[in-house]
Subunit: 160 residues, 2 copies
Amino acid sequence: METVTEHTATAWLSEDEQRAWRIHLDVSRLLMYQLERDLQAFGLTNNDYEILVNLSEAEDRRLRMSDLARSTLQSKSRLSHQITRMESSGLVRRENCESDRRGLYAVLTEHGWETMRQVAPRHVASVRAHFIDLIPPESLAAYHEALRPVADHLRTERTK
Amino acid sequence: METVTEHTATAWLSEDEQRAWRIHLDVSRLLMYQLERDLQAFGLTNNDYEILVNLSEAEDRRLRMSDLARSTLQSKSRLSHQITRMESSGLVRRENCESDRRGLYAVLTEHGWETMRQVAPRHVASVRAHFIDLIPPESLAAYHEALRPVADHLRTERTK
């Protein structure tokens, strides 16, 4: 069978590189899939949860929409749809800040905060069961070390 | 400031665990974001590319829709929308198999195959530049080893 990797001068991945890349992709996808499945019990998606985390850790539990878009890697229009859905579930509300002309904010509601208090321990248990507890402690440190230059590079690229 | 991690008996992550988890999340998201940015030059999304890879590696460059949904972790309805979009760009077509009652297939078109031949080398160059070449070879092997039990576990969970 002809394959796309034939007859080219491309620096295709070696077997070891291919294995590392494949497992990165598989774990990323499968883990997001599994965590979302676990969050469904609370009526939340991974995107919802990420926004709840960001807001619950922010000062006064509020963030400017543009900052929230940046930290969740979403376009402003996609985030706006997302926030509309979360508003209708009562988890967040939009607020204009009169003293700040740049300021449309997303604010965590009391219901959003209570939801986080309830869901966060369950979510951490999922992260443990499906990721952290499956990796020996000494490998965890090596894992972080291996990915640090990748994370630094990608953060720099993103601001270009 | 009150935080959600206070006053609970939950097994929260240690500092090392938190760092490993954070960097996994950051790299996963930033990398998908960067790779999609690189694919945009060819009018493709990460999801499009994943489907093209799956079809181009399949026998006769075709897969049953239900198998394609399984291997890309998408719901059948979401995959169906995706395939409709890719049909209108001429990358794939749907085909019924008369001898197989289960059989609605997605088939790579000649244009889809030519697109893969053109894009695949550029995509591999992106994967190198933003991931593989930033990790020393000896760490790549350790990376694969560390994630293997996670991947095995998640594949088992998925079939439950």
